[in-house]
Symmetry: C2
DNA sequence: CCTAAAATATACCGATTGGTATTTTAACAT
DNA sequence: ATGTTAAAATACCAATCGGTATATTTTAGG
């Protein structure tokens, strides 16, 4: 890893939580230099513009979240338990212990969908990948007879994502973890009902 | 209504969709003057600062949405049908025909929760009111024997809000109304299962 | 119709925005 | 150790930011 690559990573690591909290328009170059301790010249020596930093920051935030989920999923045996890993994972970045500022998928989707086509494209891809991953898991569960054959994999995937992201919005806004527990209890019942 | 009141309303009407789409930091005073055709002097003659415009714009967007919901709810007889009005209402501002930019509750919650305490306070209040309204509806349904007595009204309220808001995020981002239908079909089944 | 007050426009302010050209410093291979 | 290249800092840019003081226009009451 060259010096430039190290610096690039350093900038992304330090600014990723800021973009996640303040959004694209709300994050200034001053925020970026303050968080890194670097000067504007150094930032622009490693990135063409603010957009490139924001896009890299989203990739970083997304990878951070999805790698945690993948790791937790691989620890689970049954399909149902795999579908329920979000219950424990997401709690961590509602209280800010992981991915400061909440879920980057939700934040960036709302931030970018009407304002930043490039960023929107990245989130769109992330959501569709997420949906397909859950859907395939459901298909596997149906093949294994763990889940009923009349389940619609895509519908289940979308419903889970909606409950998780909606739940994060509510819990983060209200700063009430009890709300998260109640919503996730509903999700549990929903998944239990699949087979 | 005085001239100033008219102008105030006019400014709010014209800028509300902009704040809903671009967020607080993303909406500039230039956006505001461009949307209204007024000058900066006129804006600041009617509002103390940008914050006041943003707060008034949120109130406007919120009232716009909630009055539509209230109207639709009053047309429904059963509790279950009342709980399902979101299915038809929210479709309208996913495609932009109402409240351009999507749901103001969701947008403002994500936009403001880490950045704008005053705005956050308003959304927080709106979400708690919404939750209480649905919970009371469920209590009524239990009293009427339409819903089972073992239902947790607060949990049901939170679950419905999460599914609706999560569903809006997904459908708006992907611009896919079929996704909305699938998620709302899950909501329908959920509400049907309440009694 | 005239006048006082209210409302809007004009012209300006310092600070900050994203971005760049240039200089200085640090890294690294020979 | 030195020369070369890469990386970071400095100093600057025009444009835009939110906001204000003042001038002009509009409104409304007598």
């Amino acid at each position: 890893m060259t010096k430039a690559e190290k610096t690039r990573n350093f900038i992304v690591e330090k600014t990723a939580p800021i973009f996640n909290m303040k959004g694209y328009a709300g994050t200034s170059l001053n925020d970026i230099t303050a968080a890194t301790g670097l000067t504007k010249g150094s930032i622009y020596g490693n990135f063409a513009n603010k957009d490139e930093v924001a896009l890299a920051a989203f990739d970083y935030n997304l990878k951070n979240v999805s790698s945690r989920i993948d790791a937790e999923m691989s620890r689970q045996d049954s399909i149902k338990d795999k579908l329920l890993v979000y219950i424990n994972i997401y709690q961590k970045f509602i209280d800010g212990s992981a991915s400061e500022g909440g879920c980057p998928v939700l934040n960036t989707a709302i931030d970018a969908d009407d304002t930043h086509p490039e960023l929107r494209g990245k989130v769109l891809k992330a959501v569709l990948n997420w949906k397909n991953k859950i859907a395939k898991l459901v298909e596997l569960g149906i093949a294994n007879k763990e889940l009923n054959a009349d389940n619609n994999p895509e519908q289940i995937a979308l419903t889970i994502i909606a409950m998780v992201e909606g739940g994060i919005m509510i819990s983060k806004l209200t700063a009430n973890t009890e709300y998260w527990s109640l919503i996730m209890d509903s999700l549990k019942k929903y998944v239990d009902g699949l087979g």
